[in-house]
């Protein structure tokens, strides 16, 4: 299986008790969690857009902004891939309730917010970004499959790619069935490895189950409560500056992620 070599230029992270990558570093160093925040700032959006955008978009925009700021890339020319395992369950719950009761009362704004590429749309509009954007899903493997998609785009097109993977808490009958009670999102800016890179991440598809180095119990709980928290083994590697793990990438395949530090 061919190996892709990428570098991670920026990292974003948001869940109510962990509002950035530095907070994850502190957690891994044994510090206590800060009190939870109710909503992400998502300050890349104008006030008006922030009011129209659902929680799912706010989380995605927040982590995307953090990662891009760390990368110092020009956002308007950065390709982006937005992943979500469950889509916007709150909007889906609203849509299905209204359609069952009074379909002609459906809100046009909430309909356009219901498309899986809503976050990609808000992001590209807010940042005047005309680069390719995508919105994807791969069930429980959404983070691994999405990272592969973003890394392949980076390597094939020799460009930096913003990858975001986020899910928010479900509500109503749909939320009861799907069982995702927590908001969690992460973002990475990835680019092809160059000779000058001081650290690289190798990605390869392997026929093995996911595995990773030990993580704090709270991380494992988040991974149970939100499919997008499957990023944590990789984010922990990035925080610790080394290691390897296998992330779920499809029904039968895992994505082996190996970090190498050369500086």
């Amino acid at each position: 299986m061919n190996t892709l070599r990428i570098q991670v230029e920026g990292i974003g992270l948001w869940t109510p008790s962990l509002t950035g990558f530095d907070a994850l570093r502190r957690l891994l160093a044994g510090e206590a969690l800060s009190p939870p925040e109710a909503h992400p700032a998502a300050s890349a959006l104008s006030l008006n857009e922030r009011r129209r955008a659902p929680e799912s978009v706010l989380v995605a925009i927040e982590v995307a902004s953090q990662a891009v700021a760390m990368s110092r890339r020009t956002v308007s020319s950065l390709a982006c891939v937005f992943a979500s395992a469950c889509g916007d369950q709150v909007t889906t719950d609203y849509m299905c309730r209204v359609l069952a009761r009074a379909p002609t009362e459906l809100s046009p704004t909430r309909f356009h917010n219901s498309v899986h590429n809503a976050s990609a749309g808000y992001w590209t509009i807010a940042n005047d970004c005309r680069a390719p954007s995508s919105a994807i899903c791969a069930g429980h493997a959404s983070f691994g499959a999405g990272l592969l998609e973003a890394a392949v785009q980076a390597c094939a097109d020799n460009r930096a790619v913003l990858f975001v993977c986020s899910d928010t808490a479900g509500v109503g009958p749909l939320g009861e069935l799907i069982g995702c009670p927590l908001a969690f999102g992460s973002a990475l800016v990835v680019s092809p490895c160059t000779d000058a890179s001081t650290s690289s991440v190798s990605l390869a598809l392997v026929a093995s189950e996911p595995h990773h180095a030990p993580l704090p119990a709270v991380c494992l709980a988040w991974m149970r409560d939100n499919p997008s928290a499957a990023c944590l083994p990789l984010l922990a590697q990035l925080a610790r500056g080394g290691g390897e793990c296998v992330l779920a990438a499809s029904k039968k395949l895992g994505l082996h992620v190996q970090m190498e530090v050369t500086a």
Binding site: T104, P108, V115, Y122, Q153, L174
Partner: protein, 404 residues
């Protein structure tokens, strides 16, 4: 930045829509310019509109082995994959390469949300989906791809692309990158979207649904007619076994950065996607014989796209929308129109722009209002979606010794 992409062989393809099951039915309908649209009779039928409906989906449940996946969208996928010997061709590719060396990339805008809508109409105690629909598999955006991966026995990377109306065009770009980097040897691409209240009443709320059959590029167009469809294609490297297959030359992608539900009237994003595909495929506008346009019959899309054609192409490039025949099949539009474009290349004809009574004066001499018999060597397919997600595909008919 200049990146060229690897041309691929399209070794199998198929489509199922309101025009019928498989390539033969589509070719007949195109040849006769016979529309598949009919008065809206889906759901409670209260919306004054026309739809492109695939008959029989209500009564043909999936086989028992796939019971957990059963819903309208996956039934349509099942019906679609059984046309034109497609399953056998995928089986042969699986033998050739191995199940983990084939990727599956499918586009859909709403997956099986129709099943979620039905569940909410029949809630137990107003809080729980009914027992027969209390199945996680069908209430997620990955429902379609997870089902098709199982049905086709594909174990490689599997991805749902859901960028509204460009979904099943963008799958070609992802597949091309995966094959180019040697991550896989082949890819099944495609898309499926089925009729549901979310899109009928959603587009109605945006005042984009036409009360009459849609009239793309007509001076008096009144909006879209929504349809449902399934389509698939098998992509492989060009080698001795595939030299005579039609080619995927490249895919261009861009974003509008304009508005969530209307295209940039200046068409800057669409033009970027167009420029991207021409660069990647190393072709010039003068080489394009035909463009299957996005042509939804919405006021803004058609105005933007007619201006783009006039601005960028010589009149030797013939253009048309075929949504007057199929309806706008949303997340499946990319693959359905890719298949129609492949048929135009294979058969040597330009499909007429169906449904138009009085052409919009903004439409230039490029428009093929009726079918035209002529060789088509290189053709494009345009797909522009909600959220400003644009994709342009380039396909070609190989000519011995002529390159490409």
């Amino acid at each position: 930045m200049h990146v060229t992409t690897l041309p691929l062989a399209v070794t199998a393809y198929t489509a199922t829509s309101a025009l019928g099951l498989g390539l033969g039915a589509h070719l007949d309908a195109l040849d006769q310019q016979r529309s598949g649209l009919r008065p809206g009779d889906f759901g409670n039928g209260s919306l004054a509109c026309w739809i492109g409906r695939v008959p029989g989906l209500e009564t043909n449940a999936l086989p028992a082995d796939f019971a957990q996946w059963d819903c309208r969208n996956n039934r349509l996928a099942w019906l679609g994959m059984h046309q034109d010997d497609f399953m056998a061709q995928v089986g042969a590719a699986r033998q050739r390469y191995g199940a983990t060396r084939i990727a599956l990339l499918l586009g859909t805008s709403t997956a099986s949300i129709g099943a979620t809508e039905e569940g909410y109409r029949r809630l137990e105690d107003d809080q729980r989906l009914p027992a027969d629909l209390h199945r996680k598999a069908i209430h997620t955006p990955h429902s379609l791809t997870a089902f098709v991966a199982t049905a086709l026995d594909i174990d490689g990377p599997s991805l749902t692309i859901s960028t509204a109306c460009s979904s099943s065009a963008k799958v070609f770009a992802s597949a091309q990158r995966l094959i180019q980097l040697g991550i896989v040897d082949a890819a099944v691409v495609g898309g499926v979207d089925s009729l549901c209240d979310s899109v009928l009443f959603g587009f109605n709320a945006l005042e984009l649904v036409s009360p009459e059959p849609c009239r793309p590029f007509d001076a008096k167009r009144r909006g879209i007619s929504i349809g449902e469809a399934a389509g698939f294609a098998l992509l492989e490297r060009i080698d001795d076994d595939t030299t005579t297959s039609l080619r995927l030359l490249g895919c261009g992608e861009s974003s509008d950065a304009h508005h969530m539900s209307t295209p940039d009237p200046l068409g800057l994003g669409a033009e970027l996607a167009l420029r991207d595909v021409l660069d990647r495929a190393r072709i010039d506008v003068s080489q394009i014989d035909y463009i299957n346009l996005h042509g939804t019959a919405s006021q803004k899309n058609d105005a933007m796209e007619a201006a783009l054609v006039a601005r960028r192409f010589p009149t030797s490039t013939r253009v048309s929308s075929t949504k007057g025949l199929t309806g706008h099949t949303l997340g499946a539009a990319g693959i359905v129109e890719a298949v129609i474009t492949l048929l135009a290349l294979r058969e040597g004809f330009v499909p007429g722009n169906a449904g138009t009574i009085t052409p919009d004066p903004a439409c230039t001499a490029h428009f093929a209002w009726r079918n035209e018999a002529r060789p088509v060597r290189i053709a494009l397919s345009h797909s522009f979606g909600f959220g400003g997600s644009n994709a342009c595909l380039a396909f070609a008919r190989p000519i011995a010794g002529a390159g490409l």
